[in-house]
Amino acid sequence: MIFIDIAAEPAADSMPPIEPNVSSLIGLAGDLKGILAVHCPAAVALGVTTAMLGMEVTALGEDVKDAIGEIANMVAGGLKVSLAAVDKKVELALPTTVIGKAIRTSGLSGATRAMVPFSSPLGRFGIELRFVLS
């Protein structure tokens, strides 16, 4: 869909953290309660948006917000389908995007957190899921 080859990085404690300039978050509710987030440094966010829209995007603005928000939406949608296959019903909220410098996101303490770093030709980015089973 986006035509960029990416690979999940093997889990390792020593990997440097991803410093996102763009984070898109989408809430999940139902049998699993949580939040899914896509964290991208500026270069990755711009490259992905350029690839998705098929036009050069050079500023972190509306287009980037829509593109990365849509990725959060699609990943969460995929998760929803996978969970439905094991009889867990999950509904999605609206994606929200935060663009800025030195942004940090966190969840309620006590939730399970999974962060998967990916590498791509544009740089690294991360997909994060925090959840509790209700």
Partner: protein, 160 residues
């Protein structure tokens, strides 16, 4: 049609204001007041923390509450009954919990006794400077409130 929608959103605004004041008076133990008319958009947030919670089901949306750092510290201090000087885990939990409570009330405002609407987990975002926005096709309102330590904002975005 447009007028009708605006009317119902005004009604929702009033109820959100009411429940925000209720939560602050009853749970946070802080007196707050409405600080002017609702805003349509907001510039980038500087040195702030945002608590947000998603709504899914018959209504899809996001509720967010944006606190500048000094207000967040004062609110957490009052809510948890302890002094906080930096944005730490306690502040994140307190601000997330306030978003959660507001989301719970919004759920009941939007649907009878909140049935058919579910909340996601609350989440917090903070940073030196960030812009917070949702996807295009939403009805959005930003309500400013005055707390003793400064102004904060409650934002609601709902899918049309």
């Amino acid at each position: 049609m447009k007028g009708e929608q605006l009317n119902s959103f005004t009604e929702i605004n009033e109820k959100i204001i009411e429940s925000t004041i209720e939560i602050f008076t009853g749970m946070v133990m802080m007196e707050i007041a409405v600080a002017g008319e609702p805003l349509q958009t907001m510039g980038p947030l500087k040195k702030s923390i945002t608590g947000m919670v998603g709504l899914a089901g018959t209504h899809k949306g996001v509720l967010a509450v944006h606190f500048p750092k000094p207000v967040a510290l004062a609110v957490t201090g009052s809510f948890l009954g302890m002094e906080v000087e930096e944005i730490n885990e306690d502040v994140q939990d307190a601000i997330g919990e306030i978003a959660n409570m507001l989301g719970g009330n919004l759920k009941t405002i939007l649907s009878d006794r909140g049935k058919d609407i579910h909340l996601s987990l609350p989440s917090t975002i903070y940073g030196d400077e960030y812009a917070f926005s949702s996807q295009a096709e939403v009805d959005q309102v930003i309500l400013p409130f005055q707390a003793p330590a400064g102004i904060f904002y409650v934002e609601v975005e709902l899918e049309r």
